[in-house]
Amino acid sequence: MTKDRAASILFFLTGIYGFYFSVQLPMGRWNEPGPGVFPITLSILLLISGIAWFIVGKRGGAEKNQAEKASRRDVVKALATPLKIVGITALLIVVFNRAGYLVASTLYIFILLFWVSRYRIVVSLLLALSIGIGSWYFFQKILSVQLPKGLLFM
């Protein structure tokens, strides 16, 4: 699949989503346009964009895009690191309030350094502790940012 085709699917699906929920909103009249008019217009424009890019993307792909079509293995390899980071960040968001900033951020940095950056466990731990405590002091004490206290009540 070419990049333009992938983008066209994103536009089309967003357009479908927008259209489906916009038609449920009041449309009003020309002298008093309702809340549905603007979103439905945009959804239609997105649907048109999606269809147009799907057609153009197909043509472009047939003509020139051998280089653009990376092998499946390359794609998976390239995606591995970003996927790990997204997963770890999602986990941080889930535990952020309950664990508190100090614990959550230290764990977050540790997992990233150990699993993604491939530092040794001791180095990762030391770096994570310094960054976690240092950033907590910087944000909480110097910038007066309100951070969740969580387990350590700090």
């Binding site: 990049k3 333009d4 992938a6 983008a7 994103l10 536009f11 967003t14 927008g18 929920f21 916009s22 909103l25 009041p26 009249r29 020309w30 002298n31 008093e32 346009p33 309702g34 809340p35 549905g36 008019v37 603007f38 979103p39 945009l42 959804s43 424009l45 997105l46 964009s49 999606g50 147009a52 890019w53 390239a78 690191t81 970003p82 980071i85 997204v86 960040t89 999602a90 941080l92 968001i93 952020f96 309030n97 900033y101 977050y108 940095i109 990233l112 350094l113 993604v116 950056s117 530092y119 770096l127 960054i131 950033s135 944000f139 910038l143 007066s144 940012v145 309100q146 951070l147 969740p148």
Partner: protein
Amino acid sequence: MDVFSNLAQGFQTALSLQNVYLCFIGCLWGTMVGVLPGIGPLAGITLLIPATFGLDATGAIIMLAGIYYGAMYGGSTTSILMNVPGESASVVTCIDGYQMTLKGRGGAALFISAWGSFLGGTLSIIGLMLLAPTLADFAMKFGPPEMFAVLLVAFVLLGSLGSGSFFRTMPMVFIGLLVGTIGMDPLTGSLRFTHNVPDLYDGIGLLPVAMGAMGVGEILIATEESLLRIIHKVKLRELLPTRDELRASWGPIFRGSGIGFVIGLLPGSAHVLSSFVSYMAEKRLAKRPEEFGSGRIEGVAGPETANNAASGSAMIPFLSLGIPTGPAPAVMMIALLIHGIAPGPLFISKNPHVFWGLIASMYLGNVMLIILNLPLVGIFISLLRIPFRILFPVILLICLVGTYSVNTSTFELAVLLLFGVLGYFIRKMKYDMAPLILAMIIGPTMELSLRQALMRSDGSFSIFWESPITMILIGVSLLLLVWNVYRGIRPTKASWEKALEEGK
């Protein structure tokens, strides 16, 4: 004379001990975020927003603006010494700047870049000082139809000046506008796309979207690439350019100032575009254009001046019309709103101390930046010795805390991550996220203006060609639309357009 007396009052405000300190902190932090690849002015500004809560609006905007133009100065350092753009506007500086470093002229490139940034920045502040109050006075006459027409021009320009083609940019604009409709409708109170989630009732916040798309998305892309980088050392005595280099730089610096100032007024990735246009202009004007790419000082002087001039003029539509032209000015607008001040036509007349204090601080900030960026360049370069393997978790943490700190909401962290993933894929597909963010900010005002105008005219579209202002603006947007469609389907493109697409 009015301008000078206002400016004198502005200097009184800016030269208070607290504001000088805030300006310095902003410039220092801006240079640091500009130097470090992966953290741009957007993340830099967002992170310091909570630190402004205890300040007055003048102090807050002085510090945040310092970060914005400071990042433009800092961005060139990594481009010249490492071939890695610290900031997106410095992409084009890599071409000749790094070649100069390889020839042992990196110091001279840094000097000319800082000097050009200083001149471009200062000239654009003069333009901002003269133009913004006039534009604001003119915009006072605007009602909903005029505002709609201005925004229509802005959107068509956004399509034509984005870093991709018009047909690539417009779908991103439509998505941004659609995202901007999420939440409670301001006229009827109907809930749109909220799916009974209370966190969505006020709409999706700009900060998590912008930080996710530009900050987290950028990191996800960067972690795919090799993280090993070579840093070249520069000694202080190597900073002095030769007489020939100085002579060759004057023209590009002044042309870059003009190009940057004009492009900075337009919505889109103005500072990125201005540096590309300036580079192509210098190449075209050069006696030996084939030498560009092998270390020409003109290839550094023009673009670096242009992106600084653009950052100054980008403040004009933001302060006098309330229309931010890029993600960073949009975040500054949010910071002002948090302090109870709404940028727009009434901003300057209602808050002269804030506006003139800001202007005066920008003169001051430019002087601070040239001092920070020349003799102290070695200190900033030492920041680059931190391995990216350590730096990226810290940058992610900064994005997360910056987002959380504004509303202490984990829902916004989820939005940040979602838009980070979206930004990653969008960039992979060679589309630009900046139009989406801008459309999301300006969209609600555009929709409101359209609906108010139609209500006022009892449903008649003739309201849009009743006043000369709307007629001209709608005519301009139609002409631009036709030109864009033609440009999108014609086979040949201008050299700067090709360069911009290759650079992306």
